[in-house]
Amino acid sequence: MEYSDKVLDHFSNPRNVGELTDADGIGEVGSPACGDIMKMYIKVEDGKIADVKFKTFGCGAAIATSSMATELIKGQPLEEALKLTNKAVVEALEGLPPVKIHCSVLAEQAIKSAISDYYTRLGVDPLPIVGPIKDTHCHAHFH
């Protein structure tokens, strides 16, 4: 398996690790049995992601994609953050090995999940805005 320098950089110096005690939305995806859990905390101000933190249990790619994804949405308006695709995360990381692509999907879903939670707390139905959160299965990478 080959990781790009970018992946290794984000893995060894992950950005935005931690929690936000005053988060406006928290999302968690993955499962311990699958070996990947991502938890994202967002702080929203003026419709923008003012701050974001993550905690991840998972492989090197899971940590790197969490780090990169949070970097990519930090300071972005919510609608922009929602447009972040796993493909964009992969590209920003200069590629991921095929078996690790599912980590980028997980990162995309974690963000959506956190934004969903933000709308839910506001009393707004997130479904029309965020769409369904995909239930990423362990073998997502085989597809």
């Binding site: 398996m1 290794l8 893995f11 060894s12 992950p14 690790v17 931690g18 968690e28 311990p32 049995a33 699958c34 070996g35 990947d36 859990i37 991502m38 938890k39 993550f54 905690k55 991840t56 249990f57 998972g58 492989c59 090197g60 899971a62 940590i63 078996v99 599912h102 362990c138 073998h139 990478h141």
Partner: protein, 396 residues
């Protein structure tokens, strides 16, 4: 990151070719390059080099040279042994294999794919300690059992199986017994005659020979069809121009690895025990597999709340090369079937670490591992939502 020291603690995955082995191999690349089947001097020299290597490998496991066939490694040897025995005996109505749930994939996948040819396999449980019971083997034997194939020592958790006992049972019942001794060779005494072993697989790259060379021992009198057919090499039993340098190296490697096993094992075991004692002091950390019936260089521990691959990458950045589960399967995200077989739940299996050392590992290497490992575990736990839950659960 500046690296004070690099400790290679993944010798169960593979080993560097030793100086002695490489030195023995080098003349066969550009000078002694003759084809061993050729009649002229250069060919005869190559044939002789192979003969001497075969003698050495045979001596290392108590076999006769004519009982040893060189292969491209442990996987080929396992495939050949199992498919060969089954093909030879299935036509006599023997269509049952006995193995364990935690064999190497080169054994398990073969058994699984033989199912579509009507071959049934019993996968014996190895219990929480990872040691199969000889009486379970005896109880599983049926009228139509063709083969018992049980590894000598497990590659992930290093547990040693009761090979001599199993061999005795099989011989008494007239059933062929194969053992994958890839991890045992050089670590444990092997005597195919005393242990009643009919077929045995070994691999060079775990004992400082080249990758891509190994051997299958087939006891005289046991006849199985070829896996690779063609030219008359290996007494007509394994076709393909012989990998002369690698075979020469394997001979030297086996000779070295099977000398002074006891002294080397004692030295290694002391370092291993220090690692186990210190590492298992960390909270929610456990040793996997039996502590006593264990390869002298194997440490396998699970850390709750963290995932193995990121642990390995962090350790690597700090100068420790180790493994999580078997290197052969690390392309996969499934948790190790070995750890599941001894009863670990998935998320704990994911957080496992295998350190495999040798007698050449130094106390300073152990110091280094023990220095860098605990903070890495702590750092990963600090960023783990799973660990957060575990700690919350404790405090609740």
């Amino acid at each position: 990151m500046s690296m004070e020291r690099f400790v290679y603690a993944d010798n169960a995955a593979t080993t560097p070719v030793s100086e002695e082995v490489l030195k023995a191999m080098l003349p066969y690349f550009r000078e002694g390059y003759g084809n061993p089947s050729s009649i002229y001097q250069k060919g005869r020299d190559a044939a002789k080099a192979i003969r001497l290597a075969r003698d050495k490998v045979a001596r290392g496991i108590g076999a006769q040279p004519e009982e040893l066939y060189f292969t491209s490694g442990g996987s080929e040897a396992d495939n050949w042994a199992i498919k060969g025995v089954v093909e030879a005996l299935a036509k006599k109505g023997k269509k049952h294999i006995i193995t364990t749930a935690f064999e190497h994939h080169a054994v398990l996948h073969v058994c699984q794919s033989l199912r579509k040819h009507g071959i049934e396999t019993t996968y014996l449980e190895v219990g929480p300690l990872g040691v199969v019971k000889a009486e379970d083997v005896a109880a599983a034997i049926r009228e139509d059992t063709a083969l018992v194939t049980i590894m000598y020592a497990n590659n992930e958790i290093g547990t040693i199986q009761p090979i001599a006992e199993i061999g005795k049972i099989c011989r008494e019942k007239g059933i062929l017994f194969h053992t994958d001794a890839v991890q045992a060779l050089g670590n444990l005494e092997i005597d195919v005659k005393a242990q009643n072993i009919d077929l045995l697989s070994l691999s060079g790259h775990k004992i400082h020979a080249q990758k891509g060379v190994g051997a299958l021992y087939i006891r005289k009198g046991v006849r199985i069809p070829n896996l690779i057919e063609g030219g008359g090499q290996e007494g007509g039993h394994r076709a393909g121009t012989e990998n002369v340098p690698a075979i020469v190296g394997l001979g030297v490697a086996v000779e070295i690895a099977t000398k002074d096993i006891q002294a080397r094992a004692d030295k290694t075991r002391k370092m291993r025990d220090r690692l186990i004692d210190e590492i298992t002091k960390l909270p929610r950390t456990r040793l996997n597999g039996d502590r006593e019936h264990r390869l002298p260089g194997n440490v396998n521990v699970s850390f709750e709340g963290i995932e193995g691959e990121s642990l390995l990458l962090m350790l690597d950045l700090r100068g420790v090369a180790a493994s999580s589960g078997s290197a052969c399967t690390s392309g996969s995200l499934d948790p190790s079937h070995v750890l599941l077989s001894i009863g670990l739940v998935h998320e704990v299996a994911h957080g496992s670490l295998r350190l495999s050392i040798t007698h050449e590992t130094t106390e300073e290497d152990i110091d280094h591992i023990l220095k860098v490992l605990p903070p890495v575990v702590e750092q990963l736990r600090a960023m783990s939502p799973l660990w957060e839950n575990i700690v919350k659960g404790e405090n609740r």
